[in-house]
Symmetry: C2
Subunit: 473 residues, 2 copies
């Protein structure tokens, strides 16, 4: 039985879907909902917030909640029908592709990286110099896991925005979320173990699993709702799965953002089968409308979730600072961090702590969310204009990757043709352990829109058409 507020939200969601409340219209006020449904104010408010976190409504200060205008005629990429069988991985593809990460001055459509305009460089430089000047001994001496108390406190504080309430003691600082995911996988699985992942999946996760000799099962993931819980339920019921690993909010590449109800159900499912979840939530802070979706961790009551976060997508990738909240696996996680590289550098931790605690982080997020929203809109418009009829793509509400499907396309052939013209893309099979998504590609929207990017997308549209017509299609 769902909690009352979820039931209420579901009922309003149905009415929105049925056109009772058309796009742009106001849904009933909290007072009205309270009267209509005989619920408490809290329940009514929570239902509205849930609808907002699902991207169905948006609040306007002092006016109420309004139904989101959905983009007309978005054809979403298709969803795989079944899970795959457990298989060993070969990470060779990601190794031989160039996603254009080599020159940070140059925007790329390939790697999921962002322009410096989207980072908080000036402030962070100042805070870092300040930390080194004021606390030279702390900054330059050996540290040990779990990391700087200041940043752990700031992360715990920031976690409240993602709906999880933990103590600074529960946080372990890492060198990026990538390291947090690597250590999490090592903490909860052994060589030969099977890990269930969403499909499509972030290719760096595939690399970690391949490198550690873990097998994977790919579970279909919907471009809005995320991993299919029915399929996952069958997978974890019929075989031993050592862990599940997902990107919970604005996933890479699918852009999916699980609803709160979905997140709670995932935790319940995994708790029932005693399977830990490695949650990568590096994009959650980049919700276009400013309503930060909850982490799955927010629904974790038993320490099942190893949460992985990062400042790379928001403040600075080059500082390499992320964190984990590893739940009941914290001891093992900290030990692994110690073994691998002792600790992360101290000065950047102090700078980021000061950024969060001084409010600069939230101000920065408010600024860049709007920029990311705009960049995504421009990219979608450009793809709609340049790509052939029948092209499908996602409509993400956060993050900076767009997942595109062109039925019949050979995206690896497209990759080669595009590379020859100096354009980098991430072809679909990169995101699959089984060569899937051949007709998909991922486009990065992490840079402010320019004529150069526009012309790259236009060229890409032409190359897509040529590839479809060409001998390799």
């Amino acid at each position: 039985m769902e909690p009352l507020y979820v039931q209420l939200a579901d009922s309003i969601a149905r009415q929105i879907e049925e056109g009772v409340y058309p796009p742009g219209s106001r849904i009933p006020s909290v007072r009205r909902l309270r009267e209509q449904h005989e619920v408490s104010v809290t329940t009514a408010v929570e239902a509205c917030r849930l609808l907002e976190s699902r991207g169905l409504v948006r609040s306007r200060p002092r006016s109420g909640f309004f139904v989101e205008r959905s983009r007309p005629e978005v054809l979403e990429p298709a969803v795989p029908a079944h899970s795959t069988r457990a298989r060993r991985l070969d990470a060779a593809l990601s190794l031989r592709l160039n996603l254009g990460i080599g020159n940070p001055q140059r925007p790329t459509l390939g790697a999921a990286v962002q322009g410096t305009e989207l980072m908080a460089i000036t402030t962070v430089n100042r805070l870092l110099s300040q930390a080194m000047r004021l606390q030279p001994t702390v900054c330059h001496s050996y540290d040990a896991p779990p990391g700087s108390p200041e940043l752990r406190r700031a992360v715990a504080q920031h976690g409240l925005d993602a709906g999880y309430s933990v103590s600074p003691d529960d946080v372990v600082i890492t060198s990026g979320a990538k390291e947090a995911v690597y250590l999490s996988i090592r903490a909860v699985t052994r060589p030969g173990d099977t890990v269930a992942i969403e499909s499509p999946a972030y290719y760096a996760l595939l690399e970690v699993l391949a490198s550690l000799d873990r097998k994977v099962i790919e579970v279909p993931s919907h471009p809005r709702r995320g991993i299919d819980l029915d399929v996952l339920g069958k997978v974890v019921s019929r075989q031993r799965v050592a862990a599940v690993a997902i990107v919970s909010n604005f996933s890479n590449p699918s852009g999916s953002c699980m609803t709160d109800a979905h997140k709670k159900a995932l935790v319940d499912l995994l708790d029932a089968h005693d399977v830990p979840l490695v949650e990568d939530d590096v994009y959650g802070d980049l919700a276009f409308d400013g309503s930060r979706p909850k982490a799955v961790k927010a629904f974790d009551t038993r320490g099942t979730v190893l949460y992985c976060g990062s400042f790379s997508k928001t403040v600075s990738p080059g500082m390499r600072i992320g964190w984990a909240v590893p739940g009941r696996y914290q001891y093992e996680f900290e030990h692994l961090k110690l073994v691998v590289n002792q600790a992360s550098p101290t000065a950047p931790q102090l700078a980021l702590a000061a950024l969060v605690e001084g409010g600069g982080f939230d101000r920065h997020l408010r600024r860049v969310r709007r920029l990311y929203a705009e960049q995504m809109e421009r990219m979608i418009d450009a793809v709609d204009g340049a790509f052939p009829d029948g092209t499908r793509h996602t409509d993400p509400r956060g993050g900076h990757v767009l997942w595109v499907q062109v039925p019949g396309l050979d995206s690896l052939a497209l990759y080669e043709r595009a590379a020859a013209e100096g354009i980098h893309i991430a072809p679909g099979p990169l995101f699959s352990a089984s060569g899937g998504f051949r007709d998909h590609l991922r486009l990065n929207t992490g840079f402010p829109w320019t004529d150069h990017i526009a012309s790259q997308v236009e060229t890409l549209g032409r190359l897509v058409a040529e590839t479809l017509d060409g001998p390799s299609s």
Copy 2:
């Protein structure tokens, strides 16, 4: 057949040992040696340099080579007689011990850490702020292995001092030597494989091997000469050893520094059996007399050696910057670095590159080598004064750890008693996979000498005596 210069050096070494050239006297000049032995100038010079690197003579500018005065009556710790059988590891001991790393403001005798006086903080802070200001895009964007071209060039340049000549392309930047060793072990071995290590061994290496489920064989190591090549030769002949791992110069904890001849013989042995060497050389820059010993890597002609270096022992541990020269395993090594945490932070790399290339690193080394020499001398004097008769200890020519043996001591009991008085030590069994070195302890000499340290050593001497007399002895 040894090369001519080695034969010549050996013959002079014998004469020194026999008292032909007593401590403090001058050995024959290069011209004299040339005439006496009918060798070239180069051979004579190389022989003298070899003797110097063995610590037998010391050059004085424009005066020639003088026989080193050895400390009177140094009783060295005993050397284990045999190698152990391959065994799985349990790293539990290091996890439950507190070596006093928690408070960087407070000197500790436990962890091998150094005081800020021994770091290059002011200069590095300035260079780091400068790098972030001048190259914000590079500092804050995503990087990928192998790391910053500037620092790789600086490391290649610095490598010449350690006798290895490599291109910047051969260098991979890591988050400390610890990560370099971790990635090296992963690059050349698989779970269940056996790694041969020196005994005593640096405990963090034991932790890495335990964590990765590798077995170890402990090979006796001499407190001056390092790992016993005769025993190692037997070990690699009679079973498959996937790798050998050592600290080549001023090893931790034994202080040993292999001679050049020994290093070359090690490479030859491993090449003959096709076994890679993981060489940890974090202390080589801290030679008390300024004569930087060569790395084993200097004798590597086939890419057998995965060399691991660090700026942690010289400039700043808190910046977490080290490097590897992984030889023919570079591809695999770089891939693992990418998988684990993408890259190391960029700004500290640029700062260190500027430090090395501007000459500040060498100036800094010249300054701290004298300080480390003095600190070691004070510690040895204090131990000689405070510890009971029969105490043995090393007489390292570099680094900052002293390895002490008190026959009959239970160093774990001593650890507990010392901890109760606020004194941290590293007990002997920490450095063994088989519970060995029960009557040994390691003392850190990384801090400028103070009355407080002097009184700690005095207290320790008293506790040693009590422990010997007490119920646990």
